[in-house]
């Protein structure tokens, strides 16, 4: 179907492919992933496919049982809560570090970003969920921590975990404006070099956001 990315290995191709399929919901939670059928479907042999499974296992996107094959991982409400707690801990810490480590240029850019968000909100501009200003803000703060491993964790594993848990970033009406003002508080604390305040503000923001997500999850089920 799609050409397997030229430079990379087949394993990379397969991982990417299955990852997307799971996140998009094409492979629903609990679905059996047969090696043979998936291999023929993707046009590869079972060898790279099995190696891909191992990596996806590490990302907790698939679960394997000995002699019983691989399945798309299922996630309980408990797991969602746990992942959100971890995000709260890591990302509020990232805000602290951002306040310590961001350059003056970055601080200015962060303030501009928040201002831009306010603008969008005022104009009622709708942007697509995947590259929303909400995402931009959080990504920017995380990068500002200058901790690459932390960034990897937040935008690697946890990002996927939240996506697979059907995370919808601040999709709730009325939450948007409030969220932006919470961002403003965080940004100001970072820009004025107050790590402690920045951490607290981010934690408040995340806790509210996460509470919303958990409520949404509860009412949906």
């Amino acid at each position: 179907m799609t050409d397997r990315m030229e430079s990379g290995s087949l394993v990379d191709f397969v991982v990417d492919r299955i990852e997307k399929a799971i996140l998009l919901g094409d492979y629903p939670a609990g679905m059996k992933l047969s090696e043979q059928s998936l291999a023929t479907e993707l046009g590869v042999s079972r060898s790279p496919l099995r190696e891909a499974f191992r990596r996806l296992e590490g990302k907790k996107l698939v679960v394997r049982r000995h002699n019983a094959g691989a399945r798309v991982a299922e996630h309980s409400a408990k797991e969602l809560r746990e992942v959100l707690e971890i995000r709260e801990a890591l990302e509020s810490y990232a805000a602290r570090k951002a306040a310590e480590n961001m350059s003056e240029e970055e601080k200015a850019a962060l303030l501009r970003l928040v201002e831009q968000q306010r603008e969008y909100e005022r104009l009622g501009t709708t942007v697509d969920r995947n590259q929303s200003p909400e995402q931009d803000f959080h990504l920017f703060v995380i990068r500002g921590s200058k901790n690459d491993r932390l960034s990897d964790m937040l935008y690697g594993d946890l990002y996927y975990a939240l996506r697979v848990l059907r995370y919808r970033s601040s999709a709730h009406a009325g939450r948007s404006r409030l969220a932006i003002e919470e961002h403003a508080v965080v940004a100001t604390a970072i820009a004025t070099g107050q790590p402690e305040v920045a951490e607290q503000a981010m934690r408040v923001h995340l806790r509210r956001s996460h509470e919303n997500m958990l409520n949404a999850e509860r009412t949906r089920n």
Copy 2:
């Protein structure tokens, strides 16, 4: 040599084996891991070995380059700093959660654990590094957070990262007694149900401990 664990798969066996070898320093950082020679050495074929590499890659114990094989991961001082920061964020958060979620029995057990540590310290008992009371304390607090995913992260990935970075837990003379008193503060805060205090106390403890480790690393090089 050693019999491959009966119940598990060969991949599990190989992962376990290589993991240990790396952590023990038998496979030094940067060492080339040839598939053929390792396979014959471990008495398996290349298939399970390659799958094992993928998992070890996820644990950041080995690095692979396309068409250039696998090597034991090398870790810079920067990475050590980053990992310790992450640990600070997660484990102080764990202390907060432990204060919220531990049962009365667990709280009592935690206080007893600290008391026991004090006893050992007073008697000058030397215990082996791998199952030290220091480890016990941290493990107990982490488990007390009642967040399995958090426990997995701290005692999965980060644990290995620190081990491979030649972490020696509070091996410094004089640090031991101080560390125990810091533990006592954390334990008291948890036992009396003060999440905020517990988090702060754990953060202080970890920051001091990590500073020691970073200094040790600096002077060693």
